[in-house]
């Protein structure tokens, strides 16, 4: 139909799994060949909603952060951990399998345009997934970027090489100290924030870590953005399943992680108590 402000129709894209790379037991990087439209419109921090099987089981799509976009190869990469039914199936998927992809969805990180800028990325575990794509775009914009990655142990410490290849200063910390600094990535941030000029902090990982990042940045007067996770059904803003609490003058209200998020300004998020 004819309407003012023409709506650009969105659609499901087909993807074909090219290959998977095992990062460690139970964690894989899936590289999918797909439509250029999807690749060109994707922004760091956005996600895709993936239909794993055409059989209707699992029923719902599964949301994954955009881990990498490779325009030359025509691929999108997802980095995922096996945690349940859908991801178990994905881990067994062979090259050539077709998947249905909705996306890019949601609101991603707002990357600064002007220099001088120093942006710090902090990832915990699988939360590192969207940060590689983010770092790539920041480097393209010639923005000074530092990444701090936190993992449980050496066995799970991944992506160091990927970030270093971009020329990004990379810090690794592990809880057991088996590689990098012993402790949490937030400890590295705390030290850095008191000694270096930081203009923005972007973080994705366990909520408890992001909450800590929010507090550190608030205290230091540095703008921070967090990427939240909620259970999703539709992924497009219709079901109201994925709401998160956002502060406002009147107190707080719900916003949709799939539409207004998953990235929110850290100071506006009301984190779950736990």
């Amino acid at each position: 139909m004819e309407m003012e402000g023409v709506i650009r129709m969105k659609k499901e894209y087909t993807g074909e799994i090219l290959y998977q790379e095992k990062m460690y037991e139970g964690c894989y990087r899936m590289v999918i060949k797909t439509d250029e439209d999807l690749l060109r419109t994707s922004q760091p921090g956005q996600f895709v909603h993936v239909k794993i099987n055409q059989t209707g089981d699992p029923l719902l799509r599964r949301p994954f952060s955009i881990h990498r976009i490779d325009l030359a190869q025509g691929t999108i990469s997802l980095l995922y951990a096996v945690v349940g039914k859908g991801t178990t199936i994905m881990a067994l998927d062979l090259p050539g399998k077709k998947v249905g992809i909705l996306g890019p969805l949601g609101t991603g990180f707002s990357l600064p345009d002007t220099k001088p800028h120093h942006v710090v990325l902090i990832g915990g575990g699988l939360g590192a997934a969207p940060l590689l794509f983010t770092a790539e775009r920041l480097v393209e914009k010639d923005i000074q970027t530092t990444v701090i990655l936190g993992y449980a142990d050496k066995h799970r410490a991944m992506l160091e090489g990927d970030f270093k290849r971009l020329g990004v200063k990379t810090y690794i910390s592990t809880e057991d100290g088996s590689v990098g600094n012993k402790g949490y990535p937030t400890e590295v941030l705390e030290e850095m924030i008191s000694s270096e000029k930081i203009d923005a902090v972007l973080t994705c990982g366990p909520e408890i870590m992001m909450h800590k990042v929010a507090i550190i940045c608030e205290y230091a007067g540095v703008n921070a953005w967090v990427s939240l996770e909620e259970k999703m059904a539709c992924g497009v803003g219709a079901c109201l399943g994925c709401v998160v609490r956002i502060r406002d003058e009147a107190g707080s209200h719900y916003e949709k992680a799939c539409k207004e998020g998953p990235v929110f300004k850290a100071s506006e998020v009301i984190f779950h108590e736990n």
Partner: protein, 312 residues
């Protein structure tokens, strides 16, 4: 594509009241389609028979705490808790958008009392673009109201007849499956003046997280929807078809055209697609196309010929 063989009607039972004529029998189910905006990016809303909007209440409701959604075997359990902007904001902010389309709009309303249903019906009847009222007596998420009304035949009749006096729009009463004798409840809705019944709403259910050893949903219980409930929905549509003389809008796990045809054969005049939209944003139109294909393959030129045919 011709729409002739697809047109279905819910005729007004009372003189002077309005009928609901749908260009095709596929309706987007309430609560699964927002106010149409999100899916307008994926499909042409004008190709739908109608949109049943998210359940409305007199004042804004913020809904339940999360987790609100969990997937179970071939279904999902939700406890959204009727999050909605309230009826005035709906009229001011959502109706202008919907009025850009010619597709029919069904206002789904939920009240905590008979008066609330009456107030909302009166208000919506004066609004341009609202084509029918769907009375949600069956949402299992509201502790006061919802559950009590839906399972209480007297209340169902009372609300329906009160709304009948308040509006000249077609009245659709949405039935809950969580009752002992759904045929009897449907008869009381019919007695109250309903022009149609829509069914089924979600099936009361729960899931438990064995790692946390706690219910998954914050509200403990929620409503099950999707393919898992289709056999229950079909059975109840069948029963209600044998109990009342008003049209039935059938729903519950419809994912494709064949599913929809099952409901029509069981006695539904029209169908709604709910959870299917979450899986495929184009689900409603895929269902419609599948229905057309079925008619073509079986050389049937009007969907109306199929309604309740499995009973013969």
């Amino acid at each position: 594509m011709k729409t002739k063989g697809m047109r279905v009607t819910i005729p007004a039972r009372v003189k002077g009241c309005k009928s609901l004529v749908l260009d095709n029998p596929v309706i987007a189910a309430s609560g699964t389609f927002g106010f149409g905006r999100e899916y307008a990016e994926y499909i042409d809303l004008d190709k739908l028979g109608a949109i049943a909007v998210k359940g409305l209440t007199p004042a804004a409701r913020e809904g339940n705490p999360t987790p609100r959604i969990v997937e179970t075997e071939m279904g999902i359990i939700n406890s959204i808790g009727l999050q909605n902007p309230g009826i005035e904001k709906f009229i001011a902010e959502e109706m202008p958008f919907l009025n850009q389309y010619k597709t029919k709009v069904i206002a789904n309303i939920s009240g905590n009392s008979v008066e609330e249903f009456v107030i909302m019906s009166k208000r919506l009847s004066t609004e341009k673009g609202v084509d029918a009222m769907e009375i949600n007596v069956s949402c299992p998420n509201i502790h006061r109201g919802g559950e009590v009304f839906a399972t209480n035949p007297e209340m169902v009749e009372l609300i329906t007849s009160a709304v009948r006096k308040a509006t000249d729009l077609p009245i659709i009463v949405k039935l809950s499956p969580n009752v002992t004798d759904i045929g009897y409840i449907a008869r009381r809705a019919e007695a109250g003046g309903a022009d149609a019944v829509s069914m089924i709403n979600t099936v009361l259910a729960m899931a438990i997280d064995i790692h946390k050893q706690k219910p998954v949903l914050k509200q403990v219980f929620g409503g099950l929807s999707g393919p898992a409930i289709k056999p229950i929905a079909l059975r109840q549509v069948w029963q209600v078809y044998q109990s009342v003389n008003i049209p039935i809008i059938g729903m519950g796990g419809i994912m494709d055209g064949d599913d929809a045809i099952e409901f029509i054969l069981a006695g539904a005049t029209a169908v709604s697609v709910g959870t299917g939209n979450f899986v495929n944003p184009t689900a409603c139109l895929d269902v419609l196309q599948g229905m057309r294909d079925y008619l073509e393959n079986h050389q049937i030129n009007d969907i109306n010929q199929l309604i309740g045919r499995a009973h013969q």
